[in-house]
């Protein structure tokens, strides 16, 4: 399954089994050209755009190429809060998704091993959210949390929510929505590693005087690490760039705007392309640094 993308990237294939052939070029060329044309050059475009300056006396949204580093200073000063918020929300959502997704993956991959039909059905339930519109699901939460709704009523009754206050439009509801939407992305890669876990290793741990908690910490968790890494990245990366949950038409408000929100606004509404591009580069750079540190630290040494 593609959800093991990040751990699968490390799999080794016997180098000697491969051969050189012109066929390789034929197979690679179209796809690689496509990726270069529509992935690499756009990134370069973004870098270039991020350094543009407005045409003096030009039309709205008209820019020319320059080396205008001030764009970065501008976006960091203006949108630093949104950027920090995006990474904060994404980190929280990843943490909550892990807290829900890991036990769920353990349950499906290990507890349900003896019940193959039940296991298959539980797996279908985890995949199910992929098949119904992301936006409609998020809207459904908004309506469930609505002021007249049952959840708000309950929260009012037990004093969690003051009268007239709303659940939606808060940091809580945005992180809640992000968590909900990315639980399957967290659960599936962890499930994929736990499903392959050799239970005899767990037994061996018990045989060697480790109590269940120690076995979990020293055997199960390290062996599930590739799945946890994969799942965390698959959750954190899209969550940090998301602006649907944070949108005020969905679970957010102007107080919850994330970096994606301001990139979209600058690009599509304000037509401030250099600012949008600079923000994108900042987002991309932070994520690449985080991914590199994360993969390197957990890939070479044990996670815990």
């Amino acid at each position: 399954m593609a959800f093991t993308a990040f751990s699968a990237a490390e799999q080794k294939v016997d180098e000697s089994a491969r051969k050189r052939s012109p066929i390789a070029l034929f197979l690679l060329l179209p796809g690689v050209l496509f990726l270069v044309l529509f992935f690499v050059t756009p990134l370069i475009s973004l870098v270039l755009t991020s350094l543009q300056e407005p045409v003096p006396g030009g039309f709205f949204g008209e820019y020319r190429q320059a080396l205008n580093w001030q764009n970065y200073v501008f976006v960091l000063e203006t949108y630093g809060v949104q950027a920090a918020r995006a990474f904060g929300y994404a980190a929280l959502a990843s943490l909550f998704a892990l807290l829900i997704g890991f036990p769920l993956a353990y349950f499906i991959g290990i507890t349900l091993r003896r019940f193959p039909l039940l296991q298959a059905l539980a797996l279908v339930l985890v995949i199910a959210p992929f098949f119904i519109s992301f936006l409609l699901r998020t809207l459904a939460w908004k309506q469930i949390f609505a002021i007249e709704g049952p959840v708000a009523g309950l929260a009012n009754a037990i004093g969690l929510l003051g009268p007239g206050e709303s659940i939606t439009g808060t940091a809580f509801s945005v992180v809640f929505g992000l968590t909900y939407n990315f639980i399957p992305f967290m659960t599936l890669p962890i499930y994929a590693t736990l499903e392959r876990l050799d239970l005899r290793l767990v037994e061996a741990g018990g045989d060697l005087y480790a109590n269940p908690a120690t076995v979990f910490r020293t055997v199960t968790l390290p062996l599930a690490a590739p799945g946890v890494i994969s799942g965390t990245l698959l959750t954190f990366i899209p969550a940090s760039g998301d602006y649907i949950n944070a949108s005020r038409d969905f679970l957010g408000s102007t107080e919850t705007a994330m970096i994606g929100t301001v990139i979209e606004a600058n690009f599509l509404v304000l037509q401030n392309y250099p600012a949008a591009a600079a923000l994108s580069i900042v987002l991309m750079a932070v994520i690449l640094v985080l991914v590199a540190i994360y993969v390197k630290r957990s890939g070479t040494e044990d996670l815990l």
Binding site: F39, P103, T111, Y180, Y273
Partner: protein
């Protein structure tokens, strides 16, 4: 204590699964709502929305666009991705690490960056946005998923099978189409279905590159401010039920086959 521990994971996971289902059930239930303009408050049960989906013309139009985009993007991504996957496993070539990085990077790039990057490029190149640009954008983010999925399948394929094909007088083309391709097909189909689902549900990348075209998700995004017609719920529910039916058939079939094999 031990009994309680065993019990706890069943309860916890059960609650988590129910939690995952809540908005899905909500969406399906509200596809039967006898709503007028907005579909927020329950006004009674009706089949009207299901029977007359295309009364809401804009919804149907958006749905048609989404299907067209998803099919085209899936086709491009599956063909190109499968070719790369085979090359990665089977052949030696220079710049191998660079190629791997090129495939890995789109997976670590947030959609908003992919979308903005493409939009910036189309802008600079003066390409007008439309269905074509959306298809390219979708094929781009699907291609890495296809490669990862199909590569696993190719890596699991015994090279001796192809050698046997050649040994039995098969030409390279015959061996590919009669031996390799049929064995890769389940992986390719899985990759194509994944691409279709990703493309059909994508909003962010689409939004940067759609111009004036409306897809199903972008329709919902725009309509969210004023209220979503129940017909949108109908389409989402129908797609969901169809997909889930296919998955259940495949999963249950696989489980039954596993059990038969275990008992044999």
């Amino acid at each position: 204590m031990r009994g309680f521990g065993k019990y706890a994971i069943w309860v916890y996971s059960g609650i988590a699964l129910v939690f995952l289902m809540i908005p899905i059930v909500y969406t399906i239930v509200f596809s039967f709502n006898d709503s007028r303009r907005t579909n927020i408050i329950w006004r009674g049960f009706t089949f009207d929305n299901w029977l007359n989906v295309c009364d809401a013309q804009d919804v149907c139009q958006a749905f048609g666009n989404s299907i067209l985009i998803a099919v085209s993007a899936t086709f491009i991504a599956t063909v190109l991705g499968t070719m790369i996957a085979i090359a990665l496993v089977r052949y030696r070539f220079r710049f191998r690490n660079t190629t791997t990085l090129l495939i890995f990077l789109p997976l670590t790039t947030p959609e908003v960056v992919l979308g903005a990057g493409l939009a910036a490029q189309f802008l600079q190149a003066g390409v007008p946005k439309g269905l074509g640009t959306v298809i390219i954008a979708h094929a781009l983010f699907c291609i890495s998923f296809v490669i990862v999925t199909v590569r696993a399948r190719v890596a699991g394929l015994d090279p001796a099978l192809e050698e046997a094909g050649r040994d039995l007088y098969g030409s390279p083309q015959q061996v590919f189409w009669r031996v390799t391709f049929p064995l890769l097909l389940p992986g390719i189909i899985a990759a194509a279905l994944l691409s279709f689902a990703l493309s059909f549900d994508d909003f962010i990348i689409t939004n940067f590159n759609r111009g004036a075209e409306v897809t199903f998700p972008s329709f919902i995004y725009t309509a969210a401010a004023r209220g979503i017609p129940a017909e949108a719920n109908v389409i989402a529910s129908a797609v969901f039920l169809l997909a889930i039916l296919l998955v259940i058939i495949a999963q249950v079939g696989a489980a039954i086959r596993r059990r038969q094999r275990a008992n044999a």
